[in-house]
Structures are given as structure tokens and as C-alpha cells.
Symmetry: C2
Subunit: 262 residues, 2 copies
């Protein structure tokens, strides 16, 4: 096929917003429409992408690529129900949804998975986000890659199995890391202190891991030193929080075990 | 007492290095000596602090403040064994060690705890690091605070109980967050992919939390959405890693429970 020039985005969530922002400012690619069920949010995301909005399937614009940025559950049903031309490229952005969740009636199916945490109203540098592509249609590989390279400097082909693992890894490195910040906030809060005091530490921890080949090599603290006295002092503060005490013990033990391997 | 002008640093670990670097470049305060048992590392840290090194207790220089940057276990014994003048200020930098671990023979005891993760050879902006001070000597409060303000813009008095909790919070927000990165690395590694792919995600996760009032308000992912289908897909990949599976389930459950409270 030829190059992907006209794109319709489907969805109005955080991924749709980030993609609208970046595709909307792309010179080689035109964001011709945003399709979304929620009128208020749909209009808002369309405006961010400098395009028009519709919630009427009959008004769906003609395009080379229909990019579904919707919840995992909605991918299959929405792709089947919308009057997308069977010759167009249909792709979804869901990390843990396999390629074949897209209906087989489309000859050109693909996955376009940007590995990042997207938040409403928050601009991210899309050019540094790794984009993982998948397609079983060999003729689609080159146009799909060319399209992705308009948006990011890191474009990688990965199959559904790899992508599922990437999504799982992202849950640990992002959602669970963020939850460790939240537990830190809870603990300083109990001492009458503010979460803001932890921010320089959080920022440096992430910077240090990003400067390292592996986060294992830059680990610090009582667990990696196997400092049991400090660990006992810490768990003694958590007797009224059984989950935190358990997480403390298990994560500490795992830090020590992993550190011995390097 | 008068201002703290002359400082001897004791220790050659990562905290000693960071303090040598910042005190060594201070105009109002002079780093007169570094005392450390390890000659090679002692000389190295002394050079960073543009000062002299000794490992001979008899050569310990005269100073207003003796700052012990040593392991938690070594604080009490080293403070007792060195010929520190009983009229000098003696302080330690250990988050989870109480003030009274310092021998009572010193009239002016203090704690000087910088809340940050320090790594050998890595420069950090000391001015943004919160420094937690403690002393039971009222006349020492003002000179101690004045000294700390030479180094950082964030100086807070906190008692041993608060500091112990700060240290515990730091373990979660730093060491455990870093371990979540390490588990992410392990998972992408199993899929034949590189840790570097997670770096933009890690950086954005930390930036987003630092821009927020609370990390709870910026949580994303299947746990906070209570998306059980994705969670089941994820845990199915972890059946051969019982600890990871358990952490996945418990942290996800806690994310969901906490999100309901806000």
C-alpha cells in the first residue's frame, strides 16, 4: 500500500488525547476526524488535535488509518460495528490486547502501542516514546513504520506476546512505582509531614535508574545492604498495617536475593 | 554557641562524599578534615571536599562540628571512641538512628539527616534536598539551622520518631520504587527486550508524581480502573514467578482500595 496520510482517531481517553496532540501537529499526516461517543470530551480532544469531532458512525470520514484508542474491552466490538472501509488499515493501541482481537474482515490489521503513561491535559514528548508495532500483513510493515516514525524516534516491531509482557512490565515500572510513592506519602503523612518532602528523592531515584544500565546496579537502602537491624526497626512501625509490613518484608527479601546475582 | 565554621566529616561512604562535595564548596563553612578508616576511599572523598584526610584518631583536627556519616551500627561506637572535644557539636546523618545513640558525654548532640539517595560519583543538587535537624540543646538550634541553610533551602526540625518514619517512607518511595523498575526490567528481559525501553515511562511517572499534590491522584493502569480482565491476563504470565504474582495481586488490590477513598 501507499503511505498513510489520512488518520481517523477513535476514542477520547488519555491515549486519544496524546495522539491527537501529536498527530494534529504532524506535517506529513492529517488527522481528519475524531470519533468518540462522549460529546463534551470528544469535542475537547478534537480541538487539541485541531480536527473535527463526530459521534455518528454514518459520518465517519474516509481515511487510510483508523486508530482505535479505546478501552481493552471495546476494541473488538467497536472495530466490528463502525462502518470502516474493509480496505483501510485498522489498528488499536492497547498493550495487552492481541492483534487478532481486530475483526478478520479487515485485511490490514495492526497494533500501534505507545509505551507511556498518559494523563489528561499533560503534554509529553512523543518523540522519545517507544512505539511497538505489530502486523501480519507484510505489505503494511513499511507504511506503518513510516507513519510511526513521524511521531517517535523509537519504533520497534513486537509480537502480541512481547507486547503483553511490555504492558505487564509497565505496570510494575509505572503503576506500582507510583504506588510506592503513595505508600511513602501515607507514611510521612502519619508523621505529620508532607508528601512534597519526598519529591527530590523520587526525582533523583528515577533519574539515577534512567542513567544506569540496570536499576539493580544503583539500588541503595537497608535491603540491598542486608541491614536487618534497620529492617526490624522499620517493620516494627508497620504492625498496624499488615499489608505494608508484608510488602516491606517481601520486597526487601527480593532486593537482597537479586543483588546477590550480580 | 557561636556559628559553626569548622567542620570535620567522619566517614567515606556515599553520604560523606555528597557532604564533602557541598561543604567543600561552601564559603562560610570550612571543611577542615575528613576522617575515615579506608585510606583509598578516604583520600578520594577528601579530594572531592578539597580537604585533608586522616585515619589516625590522634590527628583529629579541632572543629566546631564533627559530622558522623557512617553506618547506623558504627555511629555510637565511633562517636565514643574518637577523641572529639566534649564541647564540640557532634551530629550523625543516619535516618533511623535516634539522637541519643550519640554518647551523653557530649553536651551538644544533634542529628543532620539529608533525605536523598546518594550514589558514589553522582552529583546531586544539595540545595533542594530536605535536611531534617534534631537537637535537645536549645542553644544549638540556631547555629545548627544556620549551618544547614548554607547547604540547603529546605531545613526542617524533626524528632527521632518523625525521622524514623521519614526513613521508612524513603525506603518505599526510593528503594522499593527502584525495585519495581528492576522487576520491570526482568519482565521485558524475559521478552527479549531492553530495560532502556522503560526509561521514558519511568521518567514521566516520577515527573507526574512530582507535579501532583498526591501520587494517588495521578495513578493509571488496570488496578486503579479495577480492570480484572487485564489483571488476569497479567497474573497468568507470572505463574512461574510466585513472588511477582503475589506482589502483583496485593499491590493492585491496595491501589484499588486507596483510590476509592479519594
Amino acid at each position: 500500500m501507499n503511505r498513510i496520510k489520512r488518520v481517523v482517531l477513535i476514542g477520547s481517553g488519555n491515549v486519544a488525547e496524546a495522539l491527537a496532540r501529536t498527530i494534529g501537529h504532524c506535517t506529513e499526516v492529517q488527522l481528519v476526524q475524531l470519533f468518540a461517543r462522549n460529546p463534551e470530551r470528544g469535542r475537547q480532544v478534537a480541538e487539541i488535535g485541531q480536527t473535527t469531532w463526530t459521534d455518528d458512525p454514518q459520518q465517519l470520514a474516509a481515511a487510510d488509518l483508523y486508530l482505535l484508542c479505546v478501552s481493552d474491552r471495546a476494541v473488538a466490538e467497536l472495530a466490528a460495528s463502525l462502518p470502516i472501509p474493509p480496505t483501510a488499515v485498522v489498528a488499536h493501541t492497547a498493550g495487552s490486547v492481541p492483534l487478532d482481537a481486530l475483526p478478520a474482515k479487515f485485511a490490514q490489521r495492526a497494533v500501534f502501542y505507545p509505551l507511556q503513561t498518559f494523563t489528561r491535559g499533560r503534554k509529553v514528548d512523543f518523540r522519545e516514546i517507544p512505539i511497538f508495532l505489530e502486523t501480519t500483513d507484510d505489505t503494511l510493515r513499511s507504511p506503518l513504520e513510516h507513519f510511526a516514525r513521524q511521531l517517535s524516534e523509537q519504533v520497534i516491531f513486537a509480537d502480541s506476546e512481547q507486547r503483553k509482557r511490555l504492558h505487564l512490565a509497565a505496570v510494575f515500572a509505572c503503576n506500582f512505582a507510583n504506588h510506592m510513592y503513595a505508600l511513602g506519602e501515607q507514611i510521612v503523612g502519619d508523621a505529620g509531614l508532607d508528601f512534597a518532602l519526598l519529591k527530590p528523592l523520587i526525582a533523583e531515584t528515577a533519574r539515577k535508574a534512567c542513567d544506569a544500565t540496570s536499576p539493580i546496579t544503583v539500588q541503595t537502602g537497608p535491603a540491598v545492604r542486608n541491614d536487618r537491624t534497620t529492617q526490624e526497626r522499620h517493620t516494627a512501625m508497620l504492625t498496624e498495617e499488615p499489608l505494608l509490613e508484608e510488602l516491606y518484608r517481601k520486597i526487601s527479601q527480593n532486593i537482597w536475593e537479586i543483588s546477590k546475582k550480580i
